[in-house]
Structure formats: structure tokens, C-alpha cells
């Protein structure tokens, strides 16, 4: 079974546990994917437009931004490899939700594993809007089944009946 695992920089441990459970029943071919989101860079360009400053920041600043993005992406993928050492790695640049479904199709994934959204500490989010726009898009558009891996949130139960 070909499983594409989507990393967001905060979910390495979570998704590796999910693959462990899956690997107990069948052999898995794993791929780990991290997408550098180009959205924020475009937002910065829009801001420059408002201030009537085109084109973008000085070349040296652009390079610095690119290097920081690549270093962070490599860091996330290395972290992923620590949990899933045999996985094939994919690094893409673009809108994460679109890159994920496209890589899933190109790599002929049988399953995509994704978390609802990046968790930066605090209580795990459950309830309405707890699935972020990237996971939402992947659930709606993936070419194969999608496994949404949530954090355990038993302490937030029971919910109102």
C-alpha cells in the first residue's frame, strides 16, 4: 500500500503513530511530503503593491527568504525521516492543498495521511472549523482515500447531548 504522509512541521509523531498501526496489517510504501507555502510571499507582494512599491524586496532579502524556507522544509523532512526512516521524501513549493492532491495523484498513492491543521501547543482542537482549509481541500479533492489523524482529546468529552 502506498501511503503519502503530509507533514506540517508539527505532526511528525502523530502521523508516524498512524503509520505504525497501519503497518501492523500490511506492508507500506511510505512517502513524506512537505510543501513550502507560497501564500505568505504573495501576501507580502500584495502589501508592496498597496505601497506602490514594485517589484519585490531587494534580491538579497528574497534570497534570505528562500533560504529560510528551504532550511525549514529540510528540517521538517529530516524530522519526518527520524520517525519514518524508509520513507521517500517529497518537497514542493506552492499552495499546500493543491500540491498534496497533485503529488498523491502523481505518486499513485493509495492513501493520504493528513492532520486537521498545524498544532502549535494548547488543547487539541475539536468541533466546527477544527479541520483547516488545507485538510478540508484534501478531503474534498484527493484522488484516493484520506486518513485524517486527530490528536486524542478524550478530556474534552462528553460533548453536550
Amino acid at each position: 500500500m502506498r501511503v503519502l504522509v503530509c507533514l506540517d512541521g508539527t505532526n511528525g509523531e502523530q502521523v508516524s503513530k498512524a503509520t505504525e498501526i497501519l503497518s501492523a496489517t500490511q506492508s507500506l510504501t511510505l512517502g513524506i511530503l512537505y510543501v513550502i507555502d507560497t501564500g505568505p510571499r504573495k501576501d507580502i507582494e500584495h502589501t508592496r503593491e498597496r505601497f506602490l512599491r514594485r517589484p519585490g524586496p531587494p534580491r538579497s532579502r528574497e534570497d534570505e527568504m528562500e533560504q529560510a524556507e528551504l532550511a525549514a522544509a529540510q528540517d521538517v523532512l529530516n524530522e519526518g525521516l527520524r520517525y519514518l526512516p524508509d520513507a521517500e521524501t517529497f518537497q514542493r513549493l506552492g499552495r499546500p492543498e493543491r500540491e498534496i492532491v497533485n503529488v498523491a495523484a502523481e505518486w499513485q498513492a493509495d492513501l493520504v495521511i493528513i492532520c486537521p491543521r498545524g498544532e502549535y501547543g494548547g488543547k487539541p482542537a475539536i468541533g466546527p472549523k477544527s479541520v483547516g482549509h488545507v485538510a478540508r481541500f484534501v478531503l474534498d479533492h484527493a484522488p484516493c482515500p484520506v486518513l485524517l489523524v486527530r490528536q486524542t482529546a478524550r478530556e474534552q468529552f462528553p460533548v453536550a447531548r
Binding site: E49, R50, R53, G121
Partner: protein, 435 residues
């Protein structure tokens, strides 16, 4: 042409208004992705060629606003030279160090740093120079990027009326309607603090879930790495401290602020050249020269419209809407400026408002001050509503979204629509209470 022909006045008025309107619509929609400066200059050139504004009038208009032109030049040069010294990078690293590994405290520090930079070096420096630096910093720290980017963009405007130099718009308005420093601070300092506190409070509420974590201090670049040349860095800090002090003194004694900005820029340039930290060409490349074309075009177009009496009518209408009360003046001035900035960008809106408010000299001092302070406030903070530039851009993004095309910028818009009306209202009420 019309200059040489005797054409009925009504035709001239109609044609001037048509060209003025076409220029403003052109700036809103930017057909064929034309630069705003090109559109404004074409508008001015057509008026000029048709004789709808005389060369003497155009020349006098530009000469009268020399302070604005030189301030833009000084402000951009100061920021560019401070950036080349690594000052912004150093400040960002210090902000992260002082955050004690807490994402939430770093968020607060970004707001405070943005406030400091906007106050002294204007909102341009925060929005255009600090934002990419913060982006690099939070990417390295593996923190969620968007809250911090939004913080930079929003605080750039929210902190841009703490001092007259905090936004070039303030210079455009106060060049025509001089406010002494005490009056400026009395009317706008407290509203600015109110708006900043609201901004920080709402952002903490919106992004609380993304700001609960901590970051690894090991990922942080060292402060020494940020400064490229220690001598030039220290020199830059000293010069900027002197410039900040001189700004306050010059505002107090009503000296043109452009002279301070330009003098500071020249001193920084001398330092940068002698330490070989930049070249004239590099510094010049970091200045957006097209802005001068844009302002030149706008000043001439608005001047021609002013001659038709249309802006006076607009001004009278605003005064009428205000019901001759200070509360009305503040609310109408703020709303008019804020809506206008989102239609045609805040620079042309400030020029239009300055021209429209030409007739308020007959009003009581409270109404005059109400209109001036509210115009500064609306033009400075109003752009936060759409942040991506203008309503036209937002509409375009919405159309793209419907066509399922990649869209960014809408996230900004959602936050802006939520936060900005509240800040505008709270700030305007505070101005009114202080009148």
C-alpha cells in the same frame, strides 16, 4: 489647445472632471497592469495638453508641496540605509531573544517593534522592510507565519499617527493644514494607543491557538550575524536617535520635516559610503522613484479639479453632512477618508481630502481640528480594511476565487474587515472626546 480657444467654461469643467475621474478609476483598476504613476502622469499630461491647467498653476502646485516630495525621498533613503546597516534584522533578533522562547510574547514584541519603527521611520519601513525580516525569522523558528505577517502589516498603519513623521500621508495633510506638535499629539496620540491596544487584543483572540507554543532558541540567528559592519551599525543607531529627536523638535517648532529626513539620510549615506557598506547606485535602486511620478500626477490632476470648484462642493457637502458639529466632523471625515482610501489608495485620497477641506477655514476650530485629525486618522488606518491595496483588488481576488484560481490576500481582507471598522470607530470616538 482649449487654452488657446475660447470654449465655454462648462465644457472645460466637464472635461476636467471627466479626466480626473478617469484617472482615479484608472488608479483603482490599473488597466493592462499599468503602473499607478503612469496613469496619474497620463491624466496630468492630458489636462496639460488640453490647456485645462496652466503650466504656471501646475508648477506652483508642485512647488507648494516640496515638503511632501522631499519627505518621501528622505524617508525612503533613511529606511533603505538603515536596512543596509542590518538595523531591522538586529531589532527582530532582539525582539525574539526578549520573548523568552514564547510564541505569544514574540507576537507582542513584533507589535511593539512595528510600533517603534512606524513611529520613527514611518509605516512604509514596517510594512515593507520589517515584514520580510519577520517572515524569515518566524520561518527559521518554525512558527506559524501568517499571524506574524498580519501583525506587521496591521501595526504599520495602526501606529502611523503617533507622530507627524509616522506616515507620509500626515505630511501631505499637515503641509496644507499645519498642526502644531501639541495639537497633533493631543488629538491623535491617545487614539493611536487605543487603536494599537484593540489591534493587539483582537489579534491575540484570533490567533490564540497558534500562539500557545514555544520556539527553540537554538534556531535563532545571532544578533552579531544580523549586523554587517559594527562601526556602521553603531553610527546608524546614533544618527537615527538624533533624527528621532530632531523630528520631535522640528514638529514642535514647525520646521519642515523633510529637511530632517533628508539630512539624516545624507549623514547615513556618508557613513555607508565611507565604510563601503553601500553604493549610490544601490541606495538609489532601493528608492521607489515612480512614487514621485504618481504624486506629481495626482497633485496636478486634483489641482485642475480644484479649479473647477468641484472639490469645494465636495468639502461643503462634507461640512453639511457633519451637521456643523464636532462629532459629525470627526465621523464624516473619518468615514470619507477611510472609504476613499480603499477605493483609490490613500495617497490620492489624502490629496483629494486636503483639497476638499479647503473651505473649512470658516468653521469653528473644533470642527476644523475634527476634520483634519479624522482625515489623517481615516487615511492612515483606512487601508487596513482591504490591506491588499484597494477594493478593486479585493473584488478581483473574489472573482478569481469563484473561478477556483489560486488566491492569496483574501485572508488579509477577512481579518481587515473584522478588525478595522472597530478600530476606526473607537479611534474616531476618542478623537471626538479629545477635541
Amino acid at each position: 489647445m482649449f487654452f488657446f480657444l475660447s470654449v465655454p467654461e462648462i465644457w472645460k469643467t466637464g472635461l476636467t472632471c471627466f479626466i480626473g475621474l478617469a484617472t482615479l478609476i484608472g488608479i483603482m483598476t490599473r488597466p493592462f497592469r499599468w503602473n499607478e504613476a503612469t496613469i496619474a502622469m497620463v491624466g496630468a499630461a492630458v489636462l496639460f495638453l488640453l490647456g485645462l491647467i496652466t503650466p504656471a498653476d501646475a508648477f506652483l502646485t508642485l512647488i507648494r508641496d516640496w515638503n511632501t516630495f522631499l519627505f518621501f525621498l528622505g524617508m525612503m533613503a533613511l529606511s533603505a540605509l538603515a536596512e543596509s546597516a542590518g538595523l531591522f534584522d538586529w531589532l527582530a533578533v532582539q525582539a525574539a531573544r526578549l520573548a523568552g522562547q514564547s510564541a505569544a510574547r514574540l507576537f507582542l514584541n513584533v507589535f511593539l517593534l512595528g510600533t517603534l519603527i512606524s513611529t520613527v521611520l514611518s509605516n512604509d519601513a514596517t510594512a515593507l522592510i520589517l515584514t520580510p525580516i519577520v517572515y524569515v525569522l518566524v520561518t527559521k523558528l518554525r512558527l506559524p507565519v501568517l499571524p506574524y505577517l498580519f501583525a506587521c502589516t496591521f501595526i504599520a498603519d495602526a501606529a502611523s499617527f503617533l507622530l507627524p513623521v509616522s506616515n507620509p500621508i500626515n505630511i501631505i495633510i499637515t503641509s496644507r493644514f499645519p498642526l502644531d506638535l501639541w495639537t497633533f499629539l493631543r488629538l491623535l496620540f491617545l487614539p493611536s494607543l487605543v487603536v494599537i491596544v484593540i489591534n493587539i487584543g483582537i489579534f491575540y483572540l484570533l490567533y490564540r491557538k497558534q500562539l500557545t507554543g514555544a520556539f527553540d532558541i537554538q534556531r535563532l540567528p545571532s544578533a552579531e550575524e544580523a549586523t554587517k559592519h559594527k562601526g556602521y551599525f553603531r553610527y546608524t543607531c546614533c544618527i537615527l536617535a538624533v533624527v528621532a529627536f530632531a523630528y520631535v523638535i522640528a514638529s514642535a517648532i514647525q520646521l519642515p520635516l523633510s529637511l530632517i529626513a533628508l539630512s539624516g539620510a545624507v549623514l547615513l549615506l556618508i557613513g555607508a559610503l565611507s565604510w563601503r557598506q553601500t553604493s549610490l547606485r544601490e541606495t538609489a535602486s532601493r528608492i521607489s522613484w515612480s512614487i514621485f511620478g504618481f504624486i506629481t500626477g495626482m497633485f496636478i490632476v486634483v489641482r485642475a479639479i480644484e479649479d473647477t470648484g468641484l472639490t469645494t462642493l465636495f468639502g461643503n457637502w462634507l461640512i453639511h453632512l457633519s451637521g456643523d458639529t464636532s462629532f459629525g466632523a470627526v465621523m464624516v471625515g473619518m468615514a470619507g477618508a477611510a472609504v476613499g482610501t480603499n477605493l483609490i489608495n490613500n495617497v490620492p485620497m489624502a490629496v483629494v481630502m486636503v483639497s476638499a477641506l479647503g473651505g473649512i477655514q470658516h468653521a469653528s476650530p473644533a470642527i476644523q481640528h475634527g476634520f483634519i485629525a479624522a482625515t489623517i486618522f481615516g487615511c492612515d488606518l483606512g487601508p487596513n480594511l482591504t490591506t491588499v491595496g484597494s477594493l478593486a483588488t479585493v473584488l478581483w481576488l473574489l472573482i478569481l476565487r469563484q473561478r477556483n484560481v489560486d488566491v492569496t490576500g483574501l485572508d488579509y481582507f477577512k481579518v481587515g474587515v473584522l478588525v478595522t471598522p472597530l478600530m476606526l470607530l473607537a479611534g474616531a470616538l476618542t478623537i471626538w472626546l479629545l477635541l
